[in-house]
Amino acid sequence: MDDWLDPDVARLVGEVLDDLTKYNIVRFVYEHRGFRGDAQLLAHSIGLQPSRRFLRALEELAAAGIMLVSLNGEASPTFARALVCEQQAAVDKLLALPADSPQFASLMRRLTAQSLRRVTQQLLPDV
């Protein structure tokens, strides 16, 4: 079965890392482990727009314990990768998927579908 995903990864993608923005945030902070900055800096560093959707994704990752958020009296909260999180093993497996594997294609399809669903739900909550 070509779209088989590791159960831990499937659970992570289904429950916590459920859209492309979150995937890109996590990929970035795992590649740049010392990163620390506000939402705008993070978005620009990744190459995305610091939109309201981006901030919401970041806050949800912080709520899930994957990102750390600190206020420290600064104008906007700063974010950094949580050094310890319970999804660590699943995140590592997720980021290790080779881009030309069927599993990665399956992952991208799922994340794209979930991202589209989120966008639709935010804009058209009654649908």
Partner: protein, 199 residues
């Protein structure tokens, strides 16, 4: 006895307007006045998002536009969307100014319908981009084993196709979704504006 404006006072007001119309700042001064970085300002002008008066010179109309864009960005809009909103607002203001009175219902309807058509075109473009990006993920081997646009006879002998870059693919998909979300959001706003006129 009420104080009438002195000739000097009137002269000063006239001079002020004249000065403003002739304002022509360099990038550093314009950026300082508007509270944006020089890099931001030149990036916007290089991309044609704001007009320049000559080589990297900025007039009062441009400064006004920069301030409005900055305000829209602060409200969480993307740059592309902020520019579009500001241009629409400026076009409406200009139309009202030249007409000397508020826009008629008919004119407003034409403007909103044009914006609706534009939004729909944006959604269609984003959808096509998204479909193209999705086809790229995991579909390279099946769609083009010989390289893009090449028949088996034309396939290059060396340089086998590079494996896709996970990071780049995920980012491209993400950006396509963001563009689509922006276009849909704009469509919803335009639809509401049209409904308000129709009521």
């Amino acid at each position: 006895m009420s104080a009438s404006p002195t000739p000097y006072g009137r002269l000063l007001v006239a001079e002020e307007q004249l000065l403003l119309s002739r304002l022509n700042l360099n990038a550093h001064s314009a950026a300082r006045v508007c509270g944006v970085s020089v890099r931001q300002l030149t990036y916007w002008s290089d991309r044609g998002l704001i007009p320049t008066a000559g080589a990297r010179r900025y007039g009062i109309a441009t400064l006004n536009k920069v301030l409005l864009i900055k305000q829209a960005l602060g409200q969480g809009y993307t740059l592309q969307r902020a520019v579009r909103l500001v241009e629409e607002r400026l076009a409406l203001a200009e139309a009202a100014r030249t007409a000397g009175e508020p826009l008629s219902e008919g004119d407003l309807r034409v403007l909103v319908e044009a914006r609706l058509a534009d939004s729909l075109a944006g959604v269609r473009r984003c959808r096509q981009t998204l479909l193209a990006e999705s086809a790229t993920v995991g579909g390279r081997a099946s769609t083009s084993p010989h390289g893009e646009g090449l028949t088996p006879h034309q396939a290059p002998l060396s340089a086998p196709p590079r494996p896709p870059d996970a990071k780049a693919l995920a980012l491209q998909l993400n950006r396509a979704i963001d563009d689509l979300a922006d276009a849909l959001e704009q469509l919803a706003e335009t639809d509401q504006a049209l409904a308000r006129i129709t009521e």
